[in-house]
């Protein structure tokens, strides 16, 4: 909580703007990484110009599984952070 809350309000606004920009860049980066990952994982033959049925379904499945896993990882990460924050707050409260 300390990182952002300590900033004065006008800098906080700027920070929020930076945050949005970074999130947009991050989502584009994630998109590119996902495409590369699924391509490397699913496509291996170059006999024709277009993806065959197996490769298409593999790529689609790969993408949806990655997204679901990312969501789940985010959930667990958030839980972990909340627990850590709670522990820190408790330690702070106990120390006072």
């Amino acid at each position: 909580m300390d990182g952002v809350q300590n900033l004065p309000p006008h800098i906080q606004g700027q920070f929020m703007q930076n945050l949005e920009q970074m999130q947009m860049k991050d989502s584009l980066t994630m998109y590119n990484n996902l495409v590369e990952r699924c391509f490397n994982s699913c496509v291996s033959s170059f006999r024709s110009k277009s993806l065959d049925k197996y490769e298409t379904s593999c790529v689609e499945n790969c993408a949806s599984r990655y997204i679901k896993m990312t969501q789940r990882v985010g959930l667990r990460f958030a839980e972990h952070q909340a627990m850590q924050q709670k522990r820190a707050a408790d330690a702070l409260g106990a120390g006072k």
Partner: protein, 153 residues
């Protein structure tokens, strides 16, 4: 009765039909069926957790000459952490075949454990790095003191 949306069975009375045969319709999966809400929570939490302090329990907060830079850097660090963690856990936990669009139950529990192990590893590496930094700083201080002593003669 719970209806499993992944398979086109008719719901039967009593126990959810999906539990009997199909592993992807385990109650855990049914619980997290509402992916839109999960995505929303994740988005919100991602914004929230990036607000947390970087160093957690270990070190002092970066008071820094430029708080905007510190906050931005802290958030970048969390973004990298999240991306690397998701990539690593995907690589380690999901099968290469990608036959289904959904995660299997084993993959889901694997990803939970992967997250907690990754974060624990991050903490331990952080401790090691901190010790190395302190040792290096001490070494540099000793060197500077020695140089001063030699220069003074």
């Amino acid at each position: 009765s719970i209806v499993c949306s992944h398979h086109r069975h008719k719901p039967t009375v009593g126990r959810p039909h999906c539990l009997r045969r199909i592993p992807s319709c385990h109650p855990t999966q049914l619980f997290i069926q509402h992916r839109s809400s999960i995505a929303e929570i994740t988005r919100v939490k991602r914004k929230q957790i990036t607000m947390n302090s970087f160093f957690g329990q270990k070190e002092e907060k970066p008071a820094g000459p430029d708080p905007l830079f510190a906050a931005t850097t802290e958030m970048e660090m969390y973004t990298h952490l999240f991306n690397n963690m998701a990539a690593a856990c995907f690589e380690k936990c999901s099968s290469r075949k990608h036959k289904e669009p959904d995660l299997a139950l084993g993959e889901m529990s694997c990803s939970d454990r992967c997250v907690s192990k990754y974060l624990e590893a991050q903490e331990k590496v952080g401790v090691v790095l901190q010790k190395a930094n302190e040792a290096q700083a001490l070494q540099q201080k000793n060197l500077a003191e020695m140089q001063n002593a030699l220069g003074g003669r």
